[in-house]
């Protein structure tokens, strides 16, 4: 053992056992300090103050039993090595603890100073190795991600140059070109666009892997996104003579999702479907509700391609997956598109899957959560089995003073949303998810369980906090308005639940009537030039 004193935290509630272990510890090692506590909570409190060399842990304590004991301790201090003290009839549980990551176990009654010393020494060594491995893995991942984002940035510079000169020639800005030359240049441009898409996917996949892919859910109409996708990919489908159809349920509810991200998923799936559908085939995008699963909207993209084998089905959403039978293998991309789709859908708490029979085409489906104002509002409207006595609807408008002609303020609005969320009481007020696509201006609605007079405190706080956002003050106009929500006075026959629903729908009406400001179209995704 090293020269440092061994500092042991002993968590043991039986005084006899504790004394015995302490004795064995002192026998075996001259330089050992033992801190003994009898409850898990005291152990955790100790760990919050100091970092011992090791924890000796009895699993059955007055305030925690069995597996829960090591789980809680390891969750609290994952980097401190733990050796479990087990009863003679408890070795199964002790093994379970080892599988969960404790370093070793000792059976009480068989503890000698020698095997105790040995257990401690190896536990400390193994924990240190594990930690070093973890750190090195993290460093490697960091390095890989930094490398990839650097590379994708550096690749863009020469790509931009190729793109500019090819389009110069194609547009006839450097003199007239012959039809055959134009054809060749179009082929170059197509490859440039493919390369561009791959660079974009590379960066997205890197983000997904390192947990940096974010979704900012809003209340949106899915139909618009489907229409937008179809409009963008219509030329590609026409060129290949593939039909492109939409089948939307007319009564589709609004969904709670990030419009830019959902558009990304739709474009990816439809683009793939066109790619794998032969000429004269067709691609169909559908969205509907499924009775058994009312909390989600089901979206599917079906093609009449050659289908996917069962083996491929299992792997198709994995990163870097390439279809081994692809006829067009050199043009199938990096194999990141579906991986990115899966990560985006997962961040929305939806599901994504594929069903297919070889030769019969494939259907890729995913789900997105329905936006339910009633469900969101229920905890604000009712409290302890009663309707709140007063509710206020607060509207916060942010309007840029000069409209940026392009580019969106998504990040700024997200930052503002987070600020507004910090200005309300979590248990009494609710900041509603923003509505529609993120545009040049933004509106937030807050339903607050308070009266008009006291809501002034909240609006002052919001104004003060938003004004602190750098540059926002000079770039944006901020308006905050408050309206009381009318609540049913008499009890009548309505149940609390019905009353709550009535209030929720009257709030919905208030929002819809107050939200007459016209919003510009959804943030447009940079389109590949053709």
């Amino acid at each position: 053992m090293d020269h440092q004193a061994t500092n042991v935290l002993l968590v043991e509630d039986n005084p006899g056992d504790a004394d015995l272990v302490r004795l064995r510890l002192v026998e075996g090692q001259a330089d050992v300090r033992v801190n003994c506590v009898s409850r898990l909570s005291d152990g955790l409190a100790f760990l919050a103050r100091e970092t011992p060399t090791l924890v000796l842990l009895d699993l059955n304590l007055p305030d925690s039993h069995g597996a829960e004991t090591f789980r809680r301790l390891m969750e609290h201090s994952p980097n401190v090595p733990v050796v479990v003290l087990s009863g003679q009839d408890d070795e199964v549980l002790a093994m379970k603890a080892v599988h969960h990551g404790v370093q070793d176990y000792l059976v009480k009654g068989n503890i000698s100073s020698k095997n105790l010393e040995r257990a401690i020494r190896y536990a400390v060594e193994r924990q240190a190795l594990l930690r070093a491995l973890e750190i090195s893995q993290k460093q490697q991942l960091d390095f890989k991600n930094r490398f990839l984002s650097h590379v994708s940035h550096e690749l863009r510079t020469p790509l931009t140059c190729i793109h500019q000169y090819v389009t110069l020639l194609l547009d006839g800005l450097a003199g007239p070109i012959a039809p055959e030359q134009s054809d060749h240049l179009k082929t170059v441009l197509k490859s440039v666009n493919q390369l561009h898409a791959m660079i974009r996917d590379l960066l997205e996949a890197t983000r997904a892997e390192s947990g940096k892919l974010r979704v900012e859910p809003r209340c949106i109409a899915l139909g618009e996104l489907v229409q937008q996708t179809i409009a963008m990919l219509r030329p590609t489908a026409d060129e290949k003579k593939v039909g492109l159809e939409i089948g939307l349920d007319q009564r589709l509810p609004l969904v709670l999702a990030d419009p830019d991200r959902v558009l990304e998923v739709l474009i990816n799936l439809v683009d793939n479907a066109i790619k794998f559908t032969p000429t004269e085939g067709s691609v169909m995008v559908q969205a509907n509700m499924v009775e058994a699963d009312p909390g989600f909207v089901y979206i599917s993209v079906s093609d009449t391609g050659r289908g996917i084998s069962p083996e491929a089905k299992a792997l198709i959403f994995e990163r870097l997956y390439q279809d081994p039978d692809s006829i067009d293998n050199n043009r199938s991309g990096l194999g990141l598109g579906l991986f990115i789709c899966r990560e985006i859908v997962r961040l929305h708490e939806g599901r994504i899957w594929v069903s297919s029979e070889p030769g019969q085409g494939s259907t890729f489906s995913f789900t997105l959560p329905v936006y339910s104002l009633g469900k969101l509002l229920a905890p604000v409207i009712t409290h302890e089995n009663r309707l709140r006595t007063s509710l206020v609807l607060v509207r916060v408008d942010l309007t840029p003073l000069s409209n940026p002609p392009r580019g969106n303020w998504k990040e700024t609005w997200q930052q503002c949303l987070e600020i507004v969320q910090r200005c309300v009481y979590l248990d009494k007020d609710l900041v509603l998810p923003p509505m529609g696509a993120s545009g040049a201006a933004e509106t937030f609605f807050i339903v607050a369980a308070t009266d008009l007079q006291r809501s002034g405190i909240m609006t002052t706080r919001i104004r003060e906090q938003l004004e602190r956002v750098s540059d926002l003050k000079t770039k944006c106009k901020l308006t905050i308005t408050t309206v009381p929500v009318e609540l049913p006075s008499g009890h009548g026959d309505a149940t609390l639940e019905q009353q709550g629903e009535n209030v929720a729908s009257s709030i919905t009406r208030m929002i819809l009537t107050t939200r007459e400001r016209s919003q510009p179209g959804p943030g447009k995704r940079a389109k590949d030039s053709n």
């Binding site: 984002s149 940035h153 550096e154 863009r156 510079t157 790509l159 931009t160 140059c161 793109h163 500019q164 000169y165 389009t167 110069l168 547009d171 800005l173 450097a174 440039v192 561009h196 960066l203 003073l401 000069s402 409209n403 940026p404 002609p405 392009r406 580019g407 969106n408 303020w409 998504k410 990040e411 700024t412 004004e467 750098s470 540059d471 926002l472 003050k473 000079t474 770039k475 106009k477 901020l478 308006t479 940079a526 389109k527 590949d528 030039s529």
Partner: protein, 134 residues
């Protein structure tokens, strides 16, 4: 009517040459600068109607240029379109807040870029700044 003058700031001479060709074909007069310092100097001397600005530049990067333009009474009214290979997730919002009128990631769609140039040169960008309501 005189042609609107556009200042292109980028340290890649090949790209600058291509952009100049395209902008001239669209009936703009073009001046160029290849670093941050030259960009400010050129803006002060020539008073362009619009600036196309790269972010990664020698001698004062794009954000320094944006900052200098914004803090100058005579130059802050010139619309700036950022054209950069950098990640929009980390740079678009920052550029817009620093005063840019638009952000394009390279390679940008030509039609879209020309469109935004046209819109930015229009009367709507000449709005004076209003004060924050109290």
């Amino acid at each position: 009517m005189p042609k609107p003058k556009i200042l292109v700031v980028d340290d890649d001479p090949d790209l600058v040459r291509a952009l100049r060709l395209r902008l001239r074909a669209n009936n703009y007069e073009v001046s160029t600068a290849s670093d941050g310092y030259a960009a400010i100097a050129s803006a002060q001397k020539d008073r362009p109607s619009l600036i196309i600005l790269d972010l990664g530049l020698p001698v004062g990067d794009g954000f320094v240029v944006l900052d200098r333009l914004q803090s100058s009474d005579v130059l802050s009214g010139i619309p700036v379109i950022v054209l950069s290979a950098r990640d929009p997730q980390a740079n678009e919002q920052r550029a817009l807040r620093a005063g840019a009128a638009a952000f394009f990631q390279k390679p940008a769609d030509n039609d879209e870029l020309m469109n935004v140039i046209r819109v930015s040169l229009g009367p709507e960008t000449a709005q004076p700044r209003a004060a924050w309501p109290s």
